[in-house]
Symmetry: C2
Subunit: 272 residues, 2 copies
């Protein structure tokens, strides 16, 4: 089954488009967990247990684990084992390198860590993306129009009648021969999200930037979903995992994830 | 002292523009090293000992170490300790993420691993590059026109009268307020390398793509150097470190590096 088809089934069964970003910062782990054998792993374990029925995906960003050295990467590996098989894992690594090197990254993220999908940077072109696309079971989210201020620096440059990120969308559509390619479009660009969804009616779109970054959930749902109300992945990281810094952090994360999911479902219903 | 100034001094003292890419593939390590406690580290140790007087820089590509898991990253960390302080280390990681996340990558590569410089992907714009530029001692090589076939997919798209990679050059020139920013331009694009050097007469240019990828050394020197015959870093990886797969691999690497350095010096002299 292709990655995109599997994502559809998971989103149906979980009745959720919510993705939680496991961007764990050692400094922000609640004090009472600091004495645990592995505070990062314990934090993730409790977040996952508290939210696993509310999400379609978890997305750890590799930077946060790499910043903790080999121990951080070991924690990431253990975290992945705790994620139930009925949700998707996204390795947010934003890698990109020449063909023979990209193969190594694909091997590390897919085979060694075991991620179901990864984020990839398009700048180096097709041979840097191809090694990630070979296995139809494994998914790729190609950076398209990112949620950060710097997205205006190059992604919005005008190329003839198109902008650069639209060229990325066109290329991705062409490269998606295995039905396992998706895009990353920030919720901070609702109008552009709508336009992108029209061009790729059946590709997954990972939508970060809700919450701290100021993106609007309602338009992310309205413009990001396909015609079945699927294939948008609404990512929230800090607003959920750091909803509380106390002993109730996992409950608070569940409550916040629940609030978001409720809104997602309301907005989806309103569309039907 | 800024990174660029330090690179100048190192290139003068070493009388070399050669950078060796330590892209170590577990499968390609000579059989007689397989019984060593840490074959990767032993391989790198011998390569570094055999070539340390011939280079201005070593450039490990993170993908090759990540593909070996935490053990690979530990080997990379140990490898960095073996590199003499009188040459530059380049962490070829091609990272790029939103500001708060890019900070984590910078911390990991500069503070934790201790690289002198890193490669960074420009696609996500200024806030994704800025965290790497804060410390003037630490350098950044921004991907500009890469050596691979996919470089044509986006990097050469036309924006008004410029191409995308030229926009990256212009931005980099503006962002280089700490004299620690350089560019990556593949030796497979000699004409463009010449044009880029004219725009940035005093920024370092890392030039991969010599050897297996087909780039020409003579034009890389001729077009990549600044007016003092400096600031080009000529990278070779596989052609040097896998010059022999036998017990003589280190000697063979030295011989190949020596051949390249001799040519580099000849081409430099011919320019004066």
């Amino acid at each position: 089954m292709s990655f995109t088809q599997r994502l559809r089934e998971i989103q149906s069964k979980q009745n959720s488009l919510l993705c939680i970003g496991l961007d764990v910062d050692a400094d922000k782990i609640p004090p009472h967990l600091q004495s645990a054998e592995n505070p990062v792993l314990e934090f993730n374990r409790q977040i996952i247990e508290a939210t696993r029925d509310l999400v379609c995906a978890y997305k750890p960003n590799l930077a946060f684990y790499e910043a903790m050295g080999e121990r951080g990467l070991a924690s990431l590996r253990e975290t992945l084992k705790l994620i139930p098989k009925n949700v998707v894992t996204i390795g947010d690594a934003k890698r990109g390198d020449i063909g023979n090197t990209a193969e190594r990254y694909a091997r590390s993220l897919f085979d060694d860590f075991g991620f179901d999908s990864v984020t990839v940077n398009p700048y180096m072109g097709f041979d840097s993306v191809e090694p990630f696309l070979k296995n139809p079971d494994k998914g790729v989210f190609l950076l398209t129009l990112t949620s950060n201020p710097g997205s205006k620096d190059f992604q919005r440059l005008k190329i003839g009648t198109k902008l650069l990120y639209e060229k990325v969308v066109q290329a991705a559509k062409k490269w998606n021969t295995n039905q396992n390619l998706g895009l990353v479009v920030g919720a901070t660009h609702p109008r552009e999200l709508k336009a992108v969804r029209k061009i790729v009616p059946d590709m997954p779109i990972l939508i970060p930037g809700i919450g701290k970054q100021g993106g609007d959930l309602k338009s992310a749902i309205r413009f990001g979903c396909d015609s079945h109300g699927q294939l948008a992945l609404i990512n929230a990281s800090r607003s959920i995992i750091y909803a509380s810094s106390g002993k109730d952090f996992a409950e608070a994360a569940r409550a916040e994830a629940g609030r978001m999911l409720k809104k997602i479902r309301q907005y989806l219903e309103a569309m039907c």
